[in-house]
Amino acid sequence: MKRLIAVLAIGFLSITLSSAWAQTLTVSTFCSLCNSTRPLAEAYMEANPGVEIIVNELEYGDHHNNLVTALATGEGAPDVAAVEIGFISKFVADGGFEDLSQAPYNAGQYEELFADYAWAQGSTPDGRIITLPVDIAPGAMFYRHDRFEEVGVSVDDAIGSWDDLIAFGKEVTRDLDGDGNNDVFLIADAADVFEGMIRMGLEEGQGKYFDNEGNVLVNTERFHEAFRVAKEIRDAGLDAQIGAWSNEWYQAFKDGAVAVQFSGAWLEGSLRDWMAPDTAGLWGASNLPGGAYASWGGSFFGIPVAADDANKELAWDFIKFMVLNEESQLSAFDTIEAFPSLKSLKTDARMEEPSAFLNGQQARLLYADIIDNIAGTTTHPGDVIAAEIVGGALSQVLNEDRNIADALIDAERQITRQARRLR
């Protein structure tokens, strides 16, 4: 009996001691961001013995759905959660994430360190800071050198305007093996052109779909023009009609079946690492056509309100380690081409490093220049819904020949109706 008590006592002591020594932090992230989160967690654990970080990695959609469930029930929320730009508007609503502008976080003091637009994306119009940006995804046009050379068009000529791009598209889209079907297309999906164009010319206080006052901006010249150009590309047969993130999409990159693809800088990392590693050296990066400057993607870290209060201080410290530490940001830059959110890094020597994948181009300087030109866009809780509704309208125009004006009026009406019930 005595021995049993002794064993129990030792066991109990060791549990309490180990919990006093080691603090466990859970971090939820999605892939491919996970490829930079994991090494950073390891580096943090090395620098802080006694801290154990468990990194939960899930696929993009599953990660965000799980996060919603955890926030809804207040159970199982991670201490640190990654949020992608496509989902951030869901979490802009009250309550889901800690307001980092308040004590003990006082994140407001760091605002000057970050690119303006990325800071705006992670905050709400009423000044709450819900997340800190970690990857700010400058939007660029990735293109195949060989496809341009074959038809003798220079990239600069093709990106002068969106109509110039169409003119190039008409030359590059063609049948190579003579079987009557085109083998090379300008672009994978005409909808990508639309995505690029609605990011153009945003003024201060405007988001893609809503302005700061919550007005719906869908039935505007910006959208009419984007719909028109996308439709022209589809009707001329210049797009391969391949949706993003499908096997066909990856195959098209491997085969060089599409000449250009608009995306964030992270696409370079994805192409290099797993989408089309064999095409190294064939790619280049340029500005978006028509003098557009836009962000394309982006990732953020925040602290769920439902997380364990005892861990929040440590969670904040880990976020600061990932986001405010220059070395951490550069490591993420190297692993997945996640463009660092810290402005100070734009003058870092490593910005001048040429990219082997992009045929020795100093693409990082291009990305940095793009970032300087992106205007601040605001995040609205209705962004996800608006994107879905406008995407639906675009697919009707592209596939069903629906009149553009009607489709946009309809989309505006639907978004207005949906926005009414957002609080």
Partner: protein
């Protein structure tokens, strides 16, 4: 001393008998308790909670504390939402087309299986049943390839037919061209055109569930006494007459049951269109394949409106209730009595 020991004994025995009586009385409850505990947690509580939720406005991201009573606002929202009616129409369309085809094929098929194939019947029934037990996700992925525009098997078949010599001959001749006007000359974009999405989904649903109905009808036919058929045969009835005058009438209770299941199943259709037609936009272009269950999902998980999603589920419940009641009124009483 003696009396005290006997008293103890008596007390013991009464305690034992009481225990025995107690466990006799309550053991059965204990044995069925696991079901009821699980049912209350996973069946009854969610039922009540969704009813409660349908009167609340709740964005789940804000946590459980963010619920707010809004009366019938959620129901009003759903009833004034054009997308709800569109999803109801889609669901009914797919349901009517695929179910009708299922039953029209399954009844004669079961008749042939049971009365003609005899022993082979089980092999065929099993084969027809395979789609029903196969994972919907796997099926939807296979059908995605099946419906492919350029290389899909279905289009390859259609084009081979369209380019076959007789069709080409008719198409070229002036008098025959109208005969073959319905034969497509271009590959059909099954999932890329709003007007084709519902037929494509109906084909998938038909293929997946007709085997289930065949099994139901086979079982029903197997219960019909062989003497009836023998008597009819002696009276000179041919196979068609035996089917029409013996099998069909005696099968009515099974038909009633199978149609009820079809109504309930097709009103709740979700997985197949969700995977095949996609969720962005929900149900494919122009939401042409968005069923009520998908509308409900979109309200709850894409739009974060758990209240109106719960309201939709209750509206769906009542729609199913009404439709089953109508089917009972038309088919049920008579069908169920026909055996008596």
């Amino acid at each position: 001393m003696a009396s005290s020991s006997s008293m103890v004994k008596q007390e013991e025995s009464t305690f034992e008998t009481r225990l025995f009586a107690f466990q006799r009385k309550f053991a059965p409850y204990l044995f069925i308790a696991p079901f009821f505990i699980l049912f209350f947690i996973f069946g009854f509580f969610p039922l009540l909670f969704s009813m409660y939720l349908s009167f609340q406005s709740w964005n789940p991201i804000q946590g459980l504390g963010a619920m707010e009573f809004v009366g019938f606002e959620n129901y009003l929202w759903v009833f004034t939402d054009p997308d709800f009616y569109k999803s109801l129409y889609n669901t009914l369309w797919i349901g009517v087309v695929s179910s009708t085809a299922q039953h029209i094929v399954a009844i004669p098929l079961a008749f042939i299986l049971v009365l003609r194939l005899k022993q082979l019947r089980h092999l065929f029934t099993a084969a027809y049943f395979v789609p029903f037990i196969t994972s919907t996700v796997a099926i939807a992925i296979v059908f995605n390839t099946f419906f492919g525009t350029q290389y899909g098997v279905l289009n390859q078949g259609i084009l081979a037919f369209s380019n076959s010599a007789p069709i080409e001959f008719l198409r070229a001749s002036s008098w025959g061209s109208w005969l073959v006007a319905w034969v497509p000359e271009e590959p059909i974009r099954w999932l890329g055109r709003a007007k084709n999405i519902k037929p494509a989904l109906a084909i998938l649903v038909f293929w997946k569930y007709f085997g289930w109905n065949t099994v139901l009808y086979s079982a029903g036919l197997a219960t019909i006494p062989k003497e009836y058929y023998d008597a009819a045969e002696i009276d000179g009835a041919n196979a068609l007459q035996r089917f029409r005058h013996i099998s069909l009438p005696l099968l009515r209770p099974v038909i009633f049951f199978a149609i009820s299941l079809s109504i309930i199943g097709s009103m709740q259709l979700f997985d197949e269109p969700f995977i095949l037609a996609g969720s962005n936009p929900m149900g494919g272009i122009n939401n042409a394949g968005m069923t009520v269950a998908m509308y409900l999902y979109r309200e709850g998980f894409n739009y974060n409106q758990m209240g109106s999603a719960a309201a939709t589920s209750w509206i769906l419940f009542f729609v199913i209730g009404i439709m089953t009641a109508i089917q009972f009124a038309i088919n049920g009483r008579e069908g169920l009595d026909s055996r008596g």
